[in-house]
């Protein structure tokens, strides 16, 4: 594996991280924020696999990535459940409306 190829992979992971963080900062919709979290986790997966490739321990990074995928799916399920509950009880998915709640 050439060094420049690894560099491309790590730069891609960093750029995905940036896009996910930007999405979390500017999104108003709760479901869109869960999408941004998914992008963040995918960047972590790409960085992990690339690191395994760099250390020549791809099997270890694969087993770690498996755990990350399971945890990521659970985070998505719980986040979506929370968003649906908020929509049902409060009537909106807008995070700006949620921040006005008192009590």
């Amino acid at each position: 594996m050439e060094l420049s190829s690894l560099n491309i992979l790590f730069i891609g992971a960093a750029a995905l991280l940036g896009i996910g963080m930007y999405g979390m900062l500017v999104s108003h919709n709760l479901i869109k924020i869960v999408v941004a979290i998914q992008i963040l986790v995918k960047s972590a997966l790409l960085a992990m696999i690339s690191a395994g490739l760099a250390r020549d321990e791809i099997q270890l990074s694969q087993s770690l990535a498996l755990t990350v995928i399971v945890a990521d799916t659970i985070v998505a399920v719980i986040g979506i459940a929370l968003a649906v509950q908020v929509r049902r009880r409060i009537g909106t998915l807008d995070v700006r409306e949620l921040s006005k709640l008192k009590g």
Binding site: S5, L9, I31, D56, Q62, T73
Partner: protein
Amino acid sequence: MQIISIHTTLVSAALLCALQAIHSKRLLISALWLAALSALLSILFYILGAEQVAVIELSVGAGLVTVLFVFAINVAGDQELKGRDIIPIPFAAGLVLIGILLLIRFIVPLEPPLRTSRSVSFVETLWGLRGLDMLVQIVLIFSGVLGLLRILAEAKAPLEGAVTEEVAALRERDLQALAQQSTAATERISQATPEPF
């Protein structure tokens, strides 16, 4: 050189998908772009030699999570949100750009890869070295199933309440109609009966 170009193409396409997922106005389109991002990343993982993760990412990331998103968008509705931003977009973009450029500055160029002589199989790594994590994953899967059940249970509850209220309202209306009929009949009988001497 060809491998590098394939990597560059796949990473650029993945970045494009991620940008579209953030920028698209409709949530359904956003979820579909996220599925495309998962599929592209799984192709990349396969090329890099992580076949098991590629298969699981394709089935879970592009399949299960997308189905969940579509279900949630159907239940919660795709409302367009307008108004003032919490954080101004140029400020957020500048902040993230500076952070990412600093991160790239620190990690690139990479040191030459450290080659280790160990070569452990995937099965040995997964079940031998990280057996405890597998137990944690089982617990996580159960909690996820409970979360999903929670969504489904709450989706049904208002419907049942509405049906019960509707039946009660119909029964109340029937009872009122019966009471009016009986009152009218009593009046008719009392009018038809002659006065006693």
